[in-house]
Symmetry: C2
DNA sequence: ATTCTAAATAATAATTATTACGAGATAATA
DNA sequence: TATTATCTCGTAATAATTATTATTTAGAAT
């Protein structure tokens, strides 16, 4: 199964029609370059598919979100950032830039689950737990 | 020291001129009604101080933020929400509404600190750790 | 207490980000 | 290949925020 077939399969599995626009947007998302905005996606795919409309990008991202193909990253900014990675993970927010990196740690997840099963919030049902880690790389680091 | 004096002191301690507008905005914030937007604050204080300008509210909140009097809550929405509580805490995000509640737990903080001092992120200096807890209160709960 | 001045405010324009709308195009099924 | 519900494009409308600027003011210096 080639990439296009895979992408088609993702869409149909989510119960979505496989249109050219959706395939291209999904493809752009799968490149996963730092939690893009709608505008980021638009500019990126505009090159290979110039007739795409910005409103289609917005619209499609919202449809993807509703169908669980992307999530919105909680940020302090005015612009919505999307996350194509839907399995459990956390985020590093780099101060001094708007970069956001994924942080995976299974042990952390276990630790949190354990903590919250011991320390239940009265009458509250937890559906998602995410740690936001703010900070910065020291000088050594170049990315 | 009455409330007004206290508020004045907060401003001057932060190195800010104590203007009427700032005092009123700071006062409104201290009521802390569910992590307000700029618009929320504006509408609230407009009653007691009708000559206030929306731009002053935006401007003042940004100045407060720069001086550490408020923080922005990371959300998935387009509208910025402010948090007047500057000491360490976490957030409950209520699904099915836009309510955000504070969650304090010293043990959780210790647990996280311990975890991340054992599991350092290479070359990364953590400045803030926040847990975002998404979920909902079950039917019993009325608030 | 008055004067001075840098900073703050109000009003409004401009910009940015997103959503709404409707006419035409298209994917999926028969 | 015909049908039709859905999708896309282009643009208008709205929402949220930021920029601009003339006027006002808090607080320091007289």
């Amino acid at each position: 199964m080639n990439k296009r077939e895979k992408l088609k399969h993702i869409l149909s599995s989510a119960g979505l029609k496989a249109t050219v626009q959706r395939l291209i947007i999904l493809d752009a998302l799968s490149d996963n370059y730092n939690h893009p905005t709608a505008e980021n996606i638009y500019k990126k795919i505009k090159k290979e598919y110039p007739s795409i409309s910005l409103s289609t990008v917005y619209n499609t991202l919202e449809i993807f979100r509703k169908h669980g193909l992307v999530r919105i990253v909680n940020t302090d900014s005015v612009t919505v950032r999307y996350d194509p990675v839907t399995d459990k993970h956390h985020h590093l927010f780099l101060e001094d830039s708007s970069k956001i990196e994924d942080y995976y740690n299974n042990e952390l997840d276990k630790l949190l689950n354990k903590f919250f099963s011991k320390n239940k919030i009265p009458n509250f049902e937890i559906n998602d737990l995410q740690v936001q880690i703010k900070g910065k790389y020291n000088k050594l680091q170049t990315n």
